[in-house]
């Protein structure tokens, strides 16, 4: 029995190793300085890179965080600290359902709400769709992080005559900060690799984006476009893009590990 369960558990490691090995093997060859700094070259010309897509991904993540972090964190604070009514049950339920909504549906909705009225694909639309995906994720992780703050700290703060909102902001949120940041990082890691919702919002761009109301490139979009192309050189670039994306997400996950480990060590 133990052997069987152990084998099943180990099965999770195998795909990770396979993915990492294969992406590394196929992608490392096309990785060079030009890959990070240059624009894609036209078909047939060798070389070039996806500097615009790498920068674009960071821009999209920044825009998404601008929307997702404040709304998600404030919502989480409401659910944990002020939530004692039926409304909270509904908000929590809605957030959980939204967490399960396929991301392409988010893309369609934002396309209808932002792209159509603005008459064009844009970085704004891409940031908004990723931000929307982040909101319910961050809301729930923030709520969980705040809930594990012992009640004693809230009581101690209020017993000093500190107003509730200040006690929440300066004592409760401060105490839960690591957990909240962890949730934000995990949400960023999750949306960093989203492709489907960007197809008809950010749309992709073969050049540098100079204006946020223009379409913008992103690494996952570039991988998609290169991978379905018939050109050998583009395939290699797609693998290199996959490697860059994988390393980015891995770095975020390692940061999360470091944050949570320190937190566990610090519990009094």
């Amino acid at each position: 029995m133990q052997a069987l369960t152990c084998a099943c558990a180990l099965l999770v490691v195998v795909p990770l190793a396979l993915v990492f090995y294969h992406v590394l093997k196929s992608g490392i060859g096309a990785l060079n300085w030009a890959f990070f700094t240059q624009l894609p070259k036209p078909v047939g010309e060798r070389g070039g890179g996806m500097g615009n897509a790498i920068v674009g991904t960071f821009e999209l993540l920044g825009l998404a965080a601008l929307l997702g972090v404040p709304v998600g964190v404030c919502g989480g604070i409401f659910l944990s600290e002020y939530g004692h009514t039926r409304l909270n049950w509904w908000i929590r339920f809605a957030a959980d359902v939204l967490n399960g909504v396929p991301s392409i549906i988010w893309g369609m909705v934002v396309c209808a709400l932002v792209v159509v009225p603005m008459r064009g694909f844009s970085a704004w639309a891409g940031g908004i769709v990723l931000g929307f995906i982040m909101i319910p994720l961050i809301m729930r992780t923030t709520e969980e992080a705040l809930r594990v703050v012992p009640k004693g700290y809230r009581e101690a703060a209020l017993a000093l005559g500190i107003p509730l909102w200040r006690a929440i902001l300066h004592i409760v949120v401060r105490t839960a900060l690591r957990g909240i940041v962890t949730g934000i990082l995990l949400a960023l890691a999750r949306v960093a690799g989203e492709t489907a919702p960007l197809l008809f919002t950010a749309s992709g761009n073969r050049y540098w984006n100079h204006h946020l109301s223009d379409p913008i490139a992103a690494v996952p979009l570039q991988i998609f476009n290169y991978a379905i192309s018939p050109y050998e050189d583009w395939h290699r670039q797609a693998w290199a893009g996959a490697l860059v994306l994988l390393v980015m997400v891995a770095i975020i996950n390692i940061a999360v590990r470091a944050l949570t480990r320190e937190r566990l060590g610090k519990v009094p």
Binding site: P150, A156, G161, T175
Partner: protein, 288 residues
């Protein structure tokens, strides 16, 4: 000593001079007892319920100024519920309902225009489990109540920091590590830090909910010494499970059972010559 919170919050009424006039309704029986001082807290028909559960029924008593009043009774008798009603901590529990009156130096703390935060600044609280803010240093913990109430003056903060730690008999132990994390202190030191933190906002009354029950005997002794020092300047109400502790530190004792006040009087009388059989059974250890 000026109260800087007064400047930031004009709603905070000044404390009236301590009166030693009669009027306190402490039950004094035949035993000779000193004339009771003026009441800091006058409690009338106080009832607390949580949803359909009534935790405290029709309690009336006067808590004298600058004295230690101990609340004793078996687990679940309403001791903590009573204590928390005295600084409106029940406001945080949506299902809690408080009826009756609690007058703090004459004014009803449950009055219609009263800010709970203002009451909690005047009636401080120390909890069973030491709960220094884990993200803050020793010094920041002590001044948290001032800083988060808008006091910015560094000189005032430094002075209050020293003063409160001296009062809590902690200064000598922590003066060289004021910037160390509060959670690096020992359990007993953490509890005295919490007392210093409560003292820093200059309350008039200090409520203590079993402040020494999680500490070892020597740390407990220090807290008890501290309580005896503090009663020179504050009104103290202390909930305790430990009857010897109540006998050692308190001037008055209230015995609660099943959510009701059974007997209240000078500590000596409650422990040596109680009026009710139930009280005698409890203090002699026959039940509870």
């Amino acid at each position: 000593m000026q109260n800087n919170l007064d400047e930031t919050n004009p709603k905070l009424p000044a404390r009236p001079p301590p009166k030693r006039a009669p009027g306190a309704q402490v039950a004094i029986a035949a035993a000779p007892a000193p004339a009771p001082p003026a009441a800091a807290l006058a409690i009338r028909d106080l009832s607390v319920s949580f949803g359909a559960n009534r935790a405290l029924t029709q309690v009336s008593l006067d808590i004298p100024d600058r004295a230690v009043t101990a609340i004793i009774g078996p687990s679940g008798c309403g001791k903590s519920t009573f204590l928390r009603a005295l600084n409106r901590m029940h406001d945080l529990v949506p299902s809690a309902r408080v009826e009756g009156q609690v007058r703090l130096f004459g004014s009803d703390i449950y009055g219609p225009d009263v800010e709970p935060a203002v009451i909690r600044r005047r009636v401080g609280m120390v909890f069973q489990k030491a709960n220094p803010f884990p993200t803050m240093s020793v010094a920041d913990n002590v001044t948290a109540g001032l800083r988060l109430n808008g006091v910015r003056d560094r000189a005032v903060l430094a002075e209050r920091l020293r003063q409160s730690l001296v009062m809590a008999i902690l200064w000598d132990e922590v003066k060289d590590r004021l910037d160390a994390p509060a959670v690096s202190l020992s359990g007993g030191q953490q509890q005295r830090l919490c007392i210093a933190r409560a003292l820093a906002v200059q309350p008039e009354v200090l409520l203590m909910d079993e402040p020494a029950s999680a500490l070892d005997p020597s740390a407990t002794a220090r807290i008890e010494d501290l309580i005896l020092e503090l009663k020179e300047s504050f009104t103290l109400v202390i909930v305790t499970h430990n009857m010897q502790q109540a006998a050692r530190v308190s001037d008055y004792t209230a015995f609660f059972n099943m959510g009701q006040l059974v007997e209240y009087g000078p500590t000596l009388k409650i422990f040596t010559n109680p009026a009710k059989q139930q009280t005698e059974d409890y203090v002699t250890g026959r039940f509870g």
